[in-house]
Symmetry: C2
Subunit: 196 residues, 2 copies
């Protein structure tokens, strides 16, 4: 394997372990063992665990950006339908994963924001991109008259993403789909269907 391929393998295994166990609770040795990479060679690929953490956020970002684009830019559906499909399919995904793990970016933001400034800055970039993707879809929904013109897309995107992240914590905690269903029912039945 090339250096870049090995680096990607370490990131893949690290992403899975950190998503389940948390960043501080995942050891470098554990990631290397899973990757069959010789002990002690970690620093050939990353300058530090913090540097690895930043690369991990980029790794998650690539996956999440692709998923957001797939749903929120799918012009075969109206903007409001795209949002609905995004949350519906996310529910199916979490259901098939026994309501575990949640959102890797939300998890790391909770865990690392007060521990590492460089990792926090990287997470903040990705979280802002997630908000921007939702905002763009909300703006389209408003322009097409699917939601009221009085809705402020930037605020709505923040409220929506944060509400979803909170619902994912409740899902992990209660091992139930109910918090996600309540989020969707309140979002589409109460927040987005206002007339003015």
């Amino acid at each position: 394997m090339s250096k870049e391929e090995t680096r990607q393998l370490i990131l893949n295994n690290g992403a899975r372990l950190v998503h389940t166990k948390g960043f501080m609770n995942t050891g470098i040795q554990e990631i290397l063992d899973e990757s069959s990479v010789p002990k002690g060679s970690f620093y050939f690929y990353f300058r530090s665990k913090e540097d690895f953490g930043r690369a991990l956020v980029d790794h998650y970002d690539t996956f999440i950006s692709a998923m957001f684009d797939k749903y929120l830019q799918d012009t075969s559906h109206t903007p409001l339908e795209r949002l609905r499909r995004f949350f519906d399919d996310s529910c199916k995904f979490y259901e098939s994963n026994n309501f575990s793990s949640g959102c890797p970016i939300g998890n790391l933001s909770q865990e690392m924001s007060d521990i590492s400034v460089p990792i926090r800055e990287k997470l903040h970039e990705t979280y802002s991109k997630m908000k921007a993707a939702l905002q763009a879809c909300i703006e389209e929904a408003r322009d097409q008259g699917e939601i009221a013109g009085s809705m402020e897309p930037r605020m709505l995107a923040t409220f929506m993403l944060n509400g979803w992240e909170g619902a994912l914590i409740d899902m992990k905690l209660s091992k139930s789909i109910a918090p996600l269903v309540i989020f969707k029912d309140m979002l589409f039945g109460c927040v987005l269907n206002r007339v003015i």
Copy 2:
């Protein structure tokens, strides 16, 4: 100090450290050092770190229950005003703490739900109590005609608490009050002021 006083001291110091650094990232030795308790005597007070974790949730629960009662049962204000004051004063608290740490129960729920069943069960109890306290206040608001009769208090309480927990993550991440302000503006200006 009595055994119970020392146990409380360990819980106080543990609560502060875990709130800042996370549970898995806080060592027993570190807590004992802060408490000036002799090395190795931890197991005199707690059967295991997991047992300590459960006691820690009870410790947070006592503090949070008192705060919820103080605001949400304060009959010198209307139910809707109580909710408003609760979120307003929470904002001031987080502002004075440089937007750090967030909610100890939300944090542990995110971190520990997939790691320890006994700790998760304890967290689930406390989180359910927090929802119930909000729900009771929402029911009063509905009964007094402050919010629409079509509002379902149980769903609303879940949506409200989860939205707040998500906003707290965003606050830690962005080191800004903005996510909390947006949450309040959307909650009071959009969700709760519906006519039907």
